[in-house]
């Protein structure tokens, strides 16, 4: 860590706090993956890591490199934007896949497929 010697104390403290907070939230999310009881509850656990967990670490990284190189280092924003856009997509796909499989097996724990009135004759395309 010789490169961090010239970092001012305030920046070091802020970076350290953000790092610890982000890592702690990520750990809590992964513990939730183990402790929560069924799949649909477990889906919620990784969102801790993908929102504030990675957010705090990216803020720490941005602050660290910006202060150290005395120029704005902003490319970490890309990972944040990317995470914010992709996490919902993967989680939604995964939950829907799981719901589909549970419904096919006739599991009683998931809401059934909504009842539809049968299509009238001639309405078919």
């Amino acid at each position: 860590m010789t490169h961090a010697v010239e970092l001012p104390l305030w920046a070091a403290i802020v970076v350290a706090c953000l790092l610890l907070l982000g890592a702690f939230l990520t750990l809590v999310g992964s513990i939730g993956l183990l402790r929560l009881r069924d799949f649909y509850a477990r889906v919620h656990a990784p969102t801790l890591a993908t929102t504030l967990g990675i957010g705090c670490v990216l803020l720490a990284s941005m602050l660290f490199f910006t202060v150290l190189q005395t120029r704005p280092v902003l490319h970490e924003v890309l990972i944040t934007a990317f995470m914010v856009l992709t996490t919902p997509v993967t989680l939604m796909l995964l939950t829907r896949a799981s719901l589909y499989r549970d419904r096919r097996e006739g599991s009683p724990d998931v809401p059934p497929i909504p009842a539809r009135p049968l299509p009238k004759d001639g309405a078919e395309r």
């Binding site: 939230l25 809590v28 999310g29 513990i31 939730g32 402790r35 929560l36 009881r37 069924d38 649909y40 509850a41 889906v43 919620h44 656990a45 969102t47 801790l48 993908t50 929102t51 504030l52 280092v73 902003l74 490319h75 924003v77 890309l78 914010v84 856009l85 996490t87 919902p88 989680l91 939604m92 939950t95 829907r96 719901l99 998931v110 809401p111 909504p114 539809r116």
Partner: protein
């Protein structure tokens, strides 16, 4: 103008992305980035996405700020719930069926992203015919309350922006 720049926001976003990746604002980077952004916007035009664009920039900024506050708040709530252990939340997670009035595809996509990115709620399914969505909530105490939160907090404001 519309032919060359069918999606000005997308094109601008691509240019910013390129500049951030390169970490420079030199003329060369801007030139190459502009060409790539124009090609990207043109490629999106070929895909012919549904029409509609957001209005009211101020409302969007306020919405994003509230999403951030909500994410921080629910991070705290979910972390507490996980650390307290599985017994304290026995049988408390579940599905909620919420009827929506919003029909704009972009508004629905934004709502899905907001709800799923917030810890504690996952958007599961949307039924386009009767306009209901299926939401899974980790800490389901009161269905009515969640319905109110979704409709008042997010749906009404997204409708203002997208419809």
């Amino acid at each position: 103008m519309t032919r060359l720049l069918p999606f000005p926001l997308v094109t601008l976003g691509l240019l910013i992305l390129w500049l951030l990746l390169n970490e420079s604002v030199s003329p060369g980077a801007i030139l190459l980035g502009s060409v790539l952004a124009l090609v990207g916007g043109g490629a999106l035009w070929l895909l012919a996405p549904p029409a509609g664009r957001p209005r009211r920039v101020l409302a969007i900024a306020r919405l994003l700020w509230d999403v951030l506050i909500e994410i921080i708040r629910s991070n705290n709530a979910v972390a507490t719930l996980i650390l307290r252990g599985p017994r304290s939340q026995a049988g408390r997670s579940g599905f909620v069926l919420i009827p929506l009035a919003m029909r704009s595809p972009y508004g629905l996509a934004a709502l899905a992203c907001i709800l799923t990115a917030t810890p504690g709620t996952v958007w599961v399914d949307y039924d386009a015919e009767d306009g209901t969505m299926l939401l899974h909530v980790l800490d389901l105490i009161d269905e009515e309350q969640w319905m109110r939160i979704v409709k008042d907090n997010w749906e009404r404001r997204l409708m203002e922006i997208f419809e």
